[in-house]
């Protein structure tokens, strides 16, 4: 061991050469990588100390060297401890200057452990003060290395007791093993540098020696034969010239003797360090000459030269300096000018009024409730995602928190009141980290609050393990707190401006006063806080910009929000139509027409327009025109009635129709109006069924439109269907549902809230669907007991079903509550009038009271003829008892049926010679009904006069009567329309020979009609696709008064209990204008019923007029 000097001979020589010096001096120099140039495999290890190495085990060279440079060594040992911890080999070189070339170099170099080996587990080392200085391994030792160490230990043990007889290799191996673990364990000790330094200071000469020995041990770590040889040559260069072999043996013996076995390590070992005799490696006696000596000049010159040499060395030049002139080139210098513009600034102004503040605060809260929730979630995710990211970088949790702290710290410093030194106070550090982590704490409101807040905040945050949840909840609660600051922050978050950091900022701010500051710093925080969230915000802003961009193009309309624009257009269209039809609307609504209502030059135009459009009669002047300039409210019904007869001409009192407007548009042109139906709740909504276009094939799709008077020129809804629509009806229980019958026999239900074409229900695939066109469809309220009530009975009990009639001879009830279930109410069989059997009165055998007889009658009457079905064209449920209904058939018969019997008629009414197009119960008198037919007649029937012919027959024109309806307010008034374009209004009280109003439309076939129930108005549908609206004027008992009339359903509940007793006559409530009193209602109703009854009675007695 220690057979080689730590540094290689090459390095010795190299260092020895250039240092001829006069004065004795030692030049400790750092020479990196010069001494033992061996490759290092592992991290550099600190210098080892081998406390168990006895003094005697030192090699002679080392000892001598150490003695000579004791102080220096001990001093430099401290440094070497430090430096070698960093892996720098250290070389101490001493030299002197009179040609003595030999130098001794001591270096702790290459302290690397070649193989990390485990120390014996129980080895302990103590210093002279008894402290445990057992080296501890720093690096983890792999199992393989442990095994290698074990093997080394075994070989050492095997050579125990033999000093000289060991083979060189095994001994060397053993030493290197020991050396390895000792150095290893030295590395293990935590505070290597301090320990070594402290020991070095206290150690004195002993330190130096022990260090020297450890140094010499160190290099054997390399443990190869080549090293040995090298060391041997190095030693031979030394002054002492000792034989390397004994040294090795000695060291080996020492090592072997101090090889710690397990029991040895248990006990204390006293180590005595004794001083070895001084060995002079180099002696540089000072040379002193007297001033008078003759050699003094030479000495002085020599000294001078040496000083110069030193100076030249100090300046880094080489030893041999020569002055030489040379030409150098100056580096070319190029001047370049760069023009830099100052950062652009822009002044912006913002005007804030207090509703914009409201928008930002309260409005944002309302609108942000939905949006902010999702936003907060994203934000929270972004915020939490940063923490794992930082953790992934290997940063501990604390830096994350402090990063947030710094952000909030900057905010805090912006506030004058928050003079807290946040970053320096450890308490606050933890607090604000807690704040950033999970809680919303108003930390920075002011100093006091900051000191109060921390405790709770800290505890709260530390207690809360669910950061995310808390954060969400907090941000929500904050936006609800109503403080402007928090809300504006939340608003910004909603708008996607500073997303990532907004959560933190909001938490940090928490309703403090410096909200504006926090908002201003939000972008920065956003960048620092959550990169993901920030990116998201950028994306959203880009989206906004994209939406706003390119508005200069002509295509700009399509970039606008189409739905809202469409809505605005529709509103504007309605407004424009309101201007166009304003006067018509006033008349339609039955409002008093006042000249004062219109001002300026509009009124004359209106008058002329009105009279021009009044096609039938002269436009009657109302009383109000004469009192032009009067207050509009003064013009009421009373005034009209009182002043009218006095002032107006005779023409005022002629009943007439005034054309108001027509519902038509391009899509409905040339299509026949098949059916019309008011909405049961809002009579402004009119559904119209259009048949196929006349000019096209029958395969052209049907059309369905819902009109509103707000825009008579374009429907609110336009549904197309593949099959032509024949009939429709609005539900009264669910007013948005529209039942539609088609020509191909199927039934559909539309929800008019939908804009699209699809129906909500369809019987196209139902097994019970009609095989022929449906001609009438109606919603009927059916009570749960099975008895149907009329649709006008807005029954709170029972359900609403659809009843349809078709030419396939069936009356079908559709239950749409659960899917589509159909029940046949009646299958219509053809019956023949038994004029031959019955005398006079027709068919008394069918005696209306007996259902069975009535059912038997038809079949019996036809005798042996087979029962044939007939097509139903129309039906009507009784408004008083909807168990009973009428069916008009295409062979001209009208059957009264009950829903209880689906085979037999209660009674049958013969008379019409053509198909019956419509049957209508009188709304006032339950036993009277009306029918119209294509035999050009309208007939009035009395249920009680069953078997007889009709009570009255009305025929004015010579074409089919397509539709007939009772007027809503007068029991004796009805209207009808005909194929040749006549609109007739009949009043039985006035005349039963001629209609009171006859209005002819040229070149049109009128196909449908409908009275408005709220206003004195009449609608007719024609074959050109327009629905014309007329105002009915001057019909006694009907068109008097102004304003809206009461609908039957409005007053039904008030009237019904009082009319329960007289169920025969007045169970059906009436409509009466301007009357709310129930008693008056009944009176009015009874009057109406009595009027009609009287008339019927007289008519049956054969009188007329």
């Amino acid at each position: 061991m220690n057979t080689h000097i730590p540094s290689s001979p090459d390095s010795l020589r190299r260092h020895g050469d250039p240092l001829p010096s006069i004065g004795s001096g030692v030049y400790p120099s750092q020479q990196s990588g010069a001494s033992p140039p061996r490759p290092t495999r592992n991290a550099p290890a600190p210098p080892r100390k081998q406390p168990t190495q006895s003094q005697s085990s030192q090699s002679p060279q080392s000892s001598r060297l150490a003695h000579k440079q004791q102080n220096l060594s001990s001093a430099s040992y401290m440094r070497s401890g430090m430096r070698s911890a960093m892996g720098n080999p250290r070389v101490l070189a001493s030299d002197r200057g009179h040609g003595l070339r030999s130098a001794s170099i001591m270096g702790t170099s290459q302290l690397t452990a070649t193989a990390p080996l485990l120390p014996p587990p129980d080895a302990k080392c103590y210093d002279q003060e008894g402290n445990d200085v057992t080296p501890l391994p720093l690096l983890p030792v792999s199992r393989a290395v442990a095994r290698a160490h074990q093997a080394a230990g075994d070989s050492l043990r095997g050579s125990d007791g033999h000093v000289g007889g060991r083979s060189f290799e095994s001994v060397h191996d053993a030493i290197s093993a020991i050396d390895a673990w000792s150095s290893q364990s030295f590395v293990r000790s935590g505070s290597v540098a301090q320990l070594a330094g402290g020991r070095g200071q206290g150690g004195g000469g002993q330190e130096g020696r022990s260090r020297a020995s450890s140094l010499s041990l160190n290099d054997s770590t390399m443990g190869s034969e080549g090293d040995q040889g090298e060391a041997g040559s190095a030693t031979s260069l030394g002054d002492t010239g000792e034989d390397p072999a004994p040294t090795t043996t000695t060291a080996t013996a020492a090592a072997r003797s101090t090889r710690p076995t397990t029991p040895d390590l248990e006990k204390h070992v006293d180590i005595f360090l004794t001083e070895t005799p001084l060995v002079w490696l180099l002696d540089l006696p000072s040379l002193s000459v007297g001033a008078e000596d003759k050699e003094v000049d030479a000495v002085r010159r020599e000294n001078e030269r040496y000083k110069q040499l030193l100076a030249s060395r100090a300046s880094g030049a080489t030893d041999t300096l020569a002055h030489r002139a040379t030409q150098t080139l100056n580096l070319p210098v190029k001047h370049r000018d760069v023009q830099a513009s100052a950062p652009p600034t822009r002044d912006t102004g913002e005007q804030v009024n207090w509703w914009s503040v409201w928008d930002e605060t309260v409005g944002a809260q309302a609108e942000g409730q939905g949006v902010a929730h999702g936003k907060d979630r994203k934000e929270g995710d972004a915020a939490t995602s940063t923490d794992p990211a930082l953790a992934g970088l290997g940063l501990p949790a604390l830096p994350t928190a402090t990063a947030h702290l710094d952000q909030s710290g900057t905010m805090g410093s912006l506030s004058a009141s928050t003079a807290l030194s946040v970053g320096e106070n450890p308490t606050h550090r933890s607090i604000s980290s807690a704040t950033a982590a999970g809680g919303v704490v108003p930390v920075f409101v002011d100093a006091a609050a900051a000191y109060v807040g921390p405790g709770s905040a800290h505890s709260g945050a530390s207690a809360s393990t669910r950061k995310l949840g808390r954060q969400r909840a907090d941000s929500r609660s904050m936006s609800r707190s109503g403080s402007i600051a928090a809300s504006s922050v939340a608003l910004d978050a909603v708008r996607g401006w500073p997303t990532g950091g907004a959560g933190y900022a909001a938490n940090g701010v928490g309703g403090s006063e410096f909200s504006s500051v926090s908002v201003a710093t939000l972008p920065g925080l956003g960048i620092g806080g959550g990169p993901g969230g920030e990116a998201e915000g950028v994306a959203e802003r880009l989206g906004v910009l994209m939406g706003a961009a390119g508005q200069g193009g002509g295509d700009g309309v399509s970039r606008l929000p189409q739905n809202r624009l469409l809505q605005s257009l529709l509103v504007a269209e309605r407004a424009a139509m309101g201007n166009v039809f304003e006067n018509k609307f006033v008349r339609f609504r039955n409002l008093p027409e006042s000249a004062a209502w219109e001002e300026g030059d509009i009124a004359p135009r209106e008058d002329s327009a009105g009279s021009a459009l009044d096609s039938a009669d002269a436009r009657p002047k109302t009383a109000d025109t004469s009192t032009s300039g009067a207050v509009p409210s003064s013009a009421n019904a009373a005034a009209s009635n009182v002043s009218g007869p006095d002032l107006e001409s005779f023409a005022t009192h002629i009943p007439s129709l005034e054309f108001l407007w027509a519902y038509k548009c391009e899509a409905t042109r040339a299509r026949q109006v098949k059916s019309m139906c008011w909405n049961k709740v809002t009579e402004d909504i009119l559904a119209v069924a259009y048949g196929p276009c006349d000019h096209e094939t029958s395969a052209s799709p049907g059309l369905l439109a819902c009109w509103s008077p707000r825009n008579p020129e374009y429907p609110e809804r336009l549904y197309t269907s593949l099959a032509p629509v024949t009939c429709l009806d609005f539900s009264s229980a669910t007013p948005n549902l529209l039942a539609v019958g088609y020509q191909d026999g199927h039934l559909a239900v539309y929800d008019v809230r939908n804009q699209h074409d699809r129906s909500v229900l369809d019987t196209r695939n139902s097994s019970g669907k009609h095989r022929d066109p449906i001609w009438e469809v109606r919603w009927v309220m059916v009570s749960k007991s099975g008895s149907a009530t009329a649709e006008s009975d807005s029954g709170d009990k029972g359900e609403e079903v659809i009843v349809s009639v078709s030419t396939d001879g069936r009356v079908v009830q559709w239950d749409v509550r659960k899917g589509v279930q159909c029940t046949d109410l009646m299958s219509l069989k053809r019956v023949y009038q038994q004029t031959d059997q019955a005398s006079g009165g027709g068919d008394p055998s069918q005696g209306g009271a007996s259902g069975a007889a009535a059912g038997k009658g038809p079949s019996a009457g036809s005798g042996s003829t087979m029962s044939r079905q007939t097509g139903g064209l129309t039906f009507d449920f009784s408004p008083f008892d909807s168990n009973y209904y009428l069916v008009g058939t295409e062979d001209g018969t009208i059957h009264r049926c009950s829903i209880s019997y689906n085979e037999q008629y209660l009674s049958t009414y013969f008379g019409h010679s053509g198909a019956v197009y419509g049957v209508r119960w009188n709304p006032f008198l339950p036993r009277v009904f009306l029918s119209c037919s294509n035999d050009w007649t309208v007939r009035l029937w009395d249920v009680d006069a069953e078997g007889e012919a009709e009570v009255l027959r009305f025929q004015n024109g010579k074409d089919s009567v397509m539709d007939a309806r009772w007027a809503p307010l007068r029991s004796t008034v009805f209207g009808c329309v005909t194929m040749d374009g006549r609109i007739e209004i009949w009043d039985l009280e006035s005349s039963c020979l001629d209609p009171i109003i006859l209005h002819t439309v040229l070149d049109r076939k009128l196909t449908a009609m409908q009275f408005a129930t709220e206003y004195p108005a009449l609608l007719t549908g024609d074959d050109s696709g327009s629905v014309n609206v007329y105002k009915v004027k001057n019909v006694k008992g009907w068109t008097e008064g102004t304003g809206r009339m009461k609908k039957a359903s409005d007053i039904e509940n008030e009237v019904a209990p009082q009319t329960a007793n007289n169920k025969e006559e007045s169970s059906q409530p009436s409509t009466l204008p301007n009357e709310n009193n129930g008693t008056v209602q009944i009176t009015y109703f009874q009057n109406q019923a009595t009027n009609l009854e009287t008339f019927i009675r007289k008519a049956r007695k054969g009188f007329v007029e």
Binding site: G556, V557, S558, Q562, S568, A572, E573, A575, N579
Partner: protein
């Protein structure tokens, strides 16, 4: 043709309707059926008016908002439907409409 275009066309064909101008949020007319100078005048002036009207309505009650503005003049009725992103202006001559 889109539904909006169809409605614009229909609206402009109604009786008395003299023009339709659609102005975007920056006051730039993006669609007009009247001549250029008038369009610019209408868009500039009506935009200000609508903003002021909205401000009035909002000042009176911040929860309220302007939805429609009708200006009845001697010659015209100007209907303004303001929105966040556009303003729809319809100019109608009511005398022509009702005659």
């Amino acid at each position: 043709m889109s539904e909006v275009e169809e409605t614009i066309k229909r609206l402009s064909s109604h009786k008395g309707v003299e023009g339709i101008v659609i102005v975007n949020s920056e006051g730039i007319p993006i669609r007009s059926t009247i001549d250029n100078n008038l369009t610019i005048q209408y868009s500039a002036l009506i935009t200000q008016l609508a903003a002021k009207a909205k401000s009035v309505v909002r000042d009176l009650d911040p929860q309220n908002d302007l939805t429609f503005l009708r200006l009845r003049t001697k010659k015209h009725e100007i209907m303004v439907a303001p929105d966040k992103e556009y303003i729809l202006i319809v100019i109608q001559n009511p005398h022509e409409a009702s005659s």
